[in-house]
Symmetry: C3
């Protein structure tokens, strides 16, 4: 399990190193690795961990799913936009494992997308042998 | 296999209990569970099964991908918007399994998203042991 | 590994036959198959491989995430829109395997979505036995 303390309401964090540490302790040499956030207002994606791009991701979500746009869920809880953004991003990634390490392309990193922070968050990592 | 008879053109259904029943019959104690819709105009996501939010998901998809917005596929079949929404949502979820049960966070439920109902639908459940 | 030479800046390609060939060489009879692009400006989705619909997917992404819309990443590299579209689509699909073949619904095909071509691209295929 990876523990994350997000610091802003919306932010993107590179969690690749943490996932690699979890994978190392699993001793799986060949298979797949599931990275799975346990929350409904966060997402997981695989992309480049370039600072400007990580801000662009936040701004894109603000544009496509603006906060407070008359959502019904906001009548009971003010974070409908965070749930809806999580639905678009998805809550997990699955990555191949070879020789005990993640198969990542040159620019690929595992990004955790916070949409309702700051909060304490948990991301489950599960390695499966083939 | 889970069988679903959707009742509306667009609706969100909580299928968590059905997935848990399928998982129980697999006898997998530790691993991952794939939930996979066999259709191209439906989606699977993991989020909160709160009634207002489930309506917000439908309305968000209506806004981002409106029906009948000049799609080419509508010249042969009138459901291009349903396909396109399915592409954005994704057709599967993968969930960790521990002690024979799904690892779900406090608010996480498995949601089936119908976009071209009412129809008879099938969702495949496959458990893999680690 | 599947090798793809995309021919346009944005295009959708049906790679189902290539994935099936990779799967056949794995000898997995029952399990799941991960299809995983190694790039951050491409996506993988499962939907109908109908020509008009494949163009609709490209046009939808153009509409939701227009190129050159003031992205910060464009100050260093002109392809922010391609990264952002990849985040929305996702970079992988997971499909059940039964009797050595992919479990696909009537209209389901595996689609590779190029957003920053033309380029040489690689898609990893990993089969896991249950």
């Amino acid at each position: 399990m990876i523990e994350i303390d997000s610091r802003k309401q919306t932010e993107v964090t590179d969690i690749t190193s943490s996932v690699e540490r979890e994978l190392a302790s699993s001793n799986v040499q060949s298979g797949i690795c599931l990275i799975y956030t346990l929350h409904t207002t966060t997402g997981i994606t695989i992309n480049e961990a370039e600072g400007d791009l990580m801000q662009d991701i936040v701004r894109l979500l603000d544009t496509i799913v603006p906060a407070g746009a008359g959502y019904r869920h906001d009548r009971s809880d003010g974070n409908a936009h965070a749930h809806l953004r999580a639905v678009l991003i998805g809550n997990s990634a699955v990555i191949p494992i070879e020789r005990g390490t993640l198969v990542l392309g040159t620019w690929q990193r595992i990004l955790f997308i916070e949409q309702d922070g700051p909060r304490h968050r948990r991301v489950y990592v599960k390695a499966i042998s083939d």
